[in-house]
Symmetry: C2
Subunit: 220 residues, 2 copies
Amino acid sequence: MSGTNFKQQLFAQFARIGKAMSNGNRLELLEFIAQGERSVEELAKVSGLTVANTSQHLQQLRQTGLVACRKEGLKVYYRISDNDVLKLFGALREVAERHLDEVQELVRHYLTSKDSLEPVAHAELLERVRDGLVTVLDVRPNEEYAAGHVPGAINIPLSELEEHLDELEQGHEVIAYCRGPHCILAFEAVARLREKGFNAHRLEDGYPEWQAGGMPTEKE
Amino acid sequence: MSGTNFKQQLFAQFARIGKAMSNGNRLELLEFIAQGERSVEELAKVSGLTVANTSQHLQQLRQTGLVACRKEGLKVYYRISDNDVLKLFGALREVAERHLDEVQELVRHYLTSKDSLEPVAHAELLERVRDGLVTVLDVRPNEEYAAGHVPGAINIPLSELEEHLDELEQGHEVIAYCRGPHCILAFEAVARLREKGFNAHRLEDGYPEWQAGGMPTEKE
DNA sequence: AAACTATTCAAGAGATTACTTGAATATAAA
DNA sequence: TTTATATTCAAGTAATCTCTTGAATAGTTT
């Protein structure tokens, strides 16, 4: 039956997108690329893969239309091809965070393990802020920050973190927070900041919990 | 570095979701399930797979949290676990339709091949409607239908098609339309209706083109 | 209990995937 | 032209995936 045949061919094509996203290294590359155009070399470096391997993954992403590239001189720069790819990535992430026990486990483990993340309690944070010892970093999107945030916090959405590192003082301690304990924005911010040499920590819970706990807030 | 390790483990988990969606048969099953709870046997039948194979695919979907199931007597009924799974599927579909040439090719080929789909032109449709010969079927979501539709068209979103087949007369010719030439809702409706024995056809283009072409419209 | 049914489990064959290694291209600099 | 650099290509290996087949399990009916 040709209708069925069409359907199967169609789903086989859809599956190519799934396949492109079925490898952790490729997803990591995709996320790096989502932060802005990157060359193969840069991507290989941040992902820890060999250049050849990186190149092969990138070509798979390209063949399914998830990324596009342009050549400039010796280098080839890869970028996300379209906004809908980010939406897809976000949807995948959400499903994973909500339905995979392993993800929740993983987040909980890393967020609570002392030597890797040390969350900072609410009261403790206020003290440190008063003493002028810390920079509080809100990594949520601009709109959410504008709707209310921790007093004195500066806003750098996670996606723009690398470009705005100059707003943070190297010596200063940085405390990052986001939406809540299940939101991994803050974790990622801390991980990235630590890679850059910052003394970064994570706020226990997120803004909703801060607010619900009766702590002071501030609006734009 | 434990931060990097966390990240890689996290992406490896995300990749499990991609892997679950990396097979055409599984995606087809997922779509059937999205239309309502189905037993393994039913799913095996509509997909054309063996029962054992179907069961194995279903378990993969279940292990990644995309579907859930309940047992009732001898049968096991599978359902979509959550709305966010549908969002993910929709996002994947959109990316595939917009970025894979093969999908566009496939749709164009099947949509234009005479013996399988025969699109109906705008002017021709109006004539047939006037003569009371056809039922015009709008397969878009309710909101879109409410915002404007082809005069006299009835609205059955694709996802509810099977449940509302009684609104269509068997003998009557059915002309389906959706958002546009790249939207495959209408094609699927036609394919499914034909499987059920209806004399179904597809409207050339979709509602935006109909409107843009200066044809009459109607609102809720 | 015995027979039946829907589903799952287990093992195996063939295809596909991920990564490595070393060579091949293509562009830029000397 | 020669040399250097960034990327891609190609071949090979180990691991994984899909599907088939036949048996095992769990629940229903007789």
